[in-house]
Amino acid sequence: MREEAGIYLAMIVASIRAKMEYKASFLFLFVALLVFYLAQVGVIVVVLTKFGDIAGWSLGEMAFLYGLMVFSQGITTILFGSLNDFESQIIAGDFDRLLVRPLSPLMQILASNFEISSIAHFFIGSTALYYGSVGAGVEWTWQKAAYLPVVMTGAVLIQGGIRLSVAAVCFWTIRNRSLVHIVVYSSKEMILYPITIYHWGMQLFLTLLLPLAFINFYPSHFFLARSGSNLLFHPFIQYLSPLVGVTLFAGAYALWRLGVSRYQSAGN
């Protein structure tokens, strides 16, 4: 067990060093990510300066909502970033090579491409969280401080579970690029805004089927001390993010295991 951990660590260090070989392009990617996310924030800021609030959420509260999403997305990208391109490993037959090693194939994939450029996410995410909690006047108690990392873990497990399930689809279909595009990336645009702006059917969808609302919408009610505003709201739901995360990830991992067990190489 300890030996295995050492191997994974060595793989992680190797992948970071490989990226740092190109310092200039690494730095540039960091700047580009900042610009990209600032533009995303810009859209929300312009709308809020014009209209004051979105569905009763002020600028500070929207910033907090955004911060929870981007920060957890940063951790998710570091840990599970390589899953988005899993398709190419299946197509090229590279996955076969991982199977013959006496290590977990999933861990090998995750450790071999450690995406550290997502420190840009942490930068934007923590700024948004800080500004958000000042702007919305969050009173930090020890309960809130303790719950924040728990919520983050839940949010990362939700996003990691979604990425893992989408990657597992490859075992059946070989290709999944367009699925990655819509389920992993586009869907997240929905939770830039409080989900109460959507039709109740979509709110239900984002709560039960693709539970993105647990990444930021529901838990932020706890931090911002907001009373519930949507149909499904029960005060208890703001504490469910970790549970939803664990359940979703367990389900995704089961699907992945099933996929691995019935995997037949595409050949080359």
Partner: protein
């Protein structure tokens, strides 16, 4: 743009008819073939297609929901230049126009990196023209297979209606074409960066971010704060989606619409000159790494 095509010699046999056509309309037929090829290439990906349509509908859903909510709840919504219905139409048509224009990196970067660009340079056509023709083919595909079905779905499921006045359609065609050319040329310029910089993904990311914020695809020019609006209006991206959408739904009319369209035309000329100069510099710069 067409000067090289006549250098092509007629070939005997089965291809003779094609070459006869090329002889008769040297430039046009060749570029038409590029466009057709790109159209066919798109047809090959069926699943991608359905996901692309779903993606477009998702974004329309998000932004129509957003504006409906804002217009129903915000006090500030009363004194702006859009009505609730106008804003929903804006969100729908801006997204449809955006989908009709979707372009990838034009394939230029891959060609530079693999060295295939050298082959393109010795071939008897203008590289800019060939890339544009190829892009028009892909864009026509997007119009018929993505934009139109999405429009049909929106007509059924949202309160959006098409304008009655034929003038709006004429203005749309004009503004869309100019906006499309601006967008293509900005993309072309970004793609040419590959001649100088190996890793261009970061530039793409930045361009995408800027486009999201400053094209009018999500926020119309009118909503930017007074302080920055004049600057934002100058960014060529604003001409890409805002102008065609606003003239089509009748938000910009008469002299105002004409002014914006003239402004677009100015950008087309300016960017055309930039493209020509950059392409000339890029040709001199080109080093092919191995073969």
């Amino acid at each position: 743009m067409s000067d090289h095509s006549s250098a092509m010699a007629p070939a005997p046999g089965a291809e003779a008819r094609l070459f006869l056509a090329i002889e008769r309309f040297p430039a046009l037929t060749l570029y038409l073939k590029f466009a057709l090829k790109a159209f066919q290439k798109q047809l090959a990906y069926k699943f991608e297609y359905f996901v692309g349509v779903a993606n477009g509908l998702l974004f329309i859903f998000i932004f129509t929901s957003l504006w409906k909510n804002i217009f129903d709840t915000s006090k500030a919504a009363a004194d702006i230049s859009f009505s609730r219905q106008g804003m929903i139409s804006y969100a729908v048509f801006a997204m449809i126009i955006r989908i009709s224009m979707s372009q990838d990196d034009l394939g230029v970067m891959g060609k530079v990196r693999s060295g295939q660009i050298a082959l393109d340079m010795i071939k008897p056509y203008n590289f800019f023209g060939a890339t544009l023709a190829e892009n028009i083919g892909g864009t026509m595909f997007h119009w018929f297979t993505r934009a139109m079905p999405i429009l049909a779905v929106c007509m059924i499921f949202t309160s959006v209606t098409m304008p009655r006045d034929p003038v709006n359609y004429l203005l749309l065609i004009l503004a869309w074409t100019l906006g499309y050319l601006i967008y293509f040329m900005v993309n072309f310029l970004f793609a040419l960066l590959a001649f100088w910089i190996v890793e261009t993904f970061s530039f793409q990311l930045m361009k995408y971010g800027m486009f999201t914020l400053f094209s009018g695809g999500i926020i119309p020019l009118d909503f930017f704060p007074d302080m920055v609006r004049p600057i934002v209006a100058w960014i060529p991206f604003m001409s890409v989606l805002y102008v065609p959408t606003a003239v089509f739904i009748g938000h910009l009319q008469g002299a105002q619409a004409a002014g914006f369209i003239l402004f677009q035309a100015g950008w087309v000329v300016a960017l055309g000159i930039c493209c020509a100069l950059t392409w000339r510099a890029a040709r001199k710069k080109l080093i092919i790494q191995g073969g």
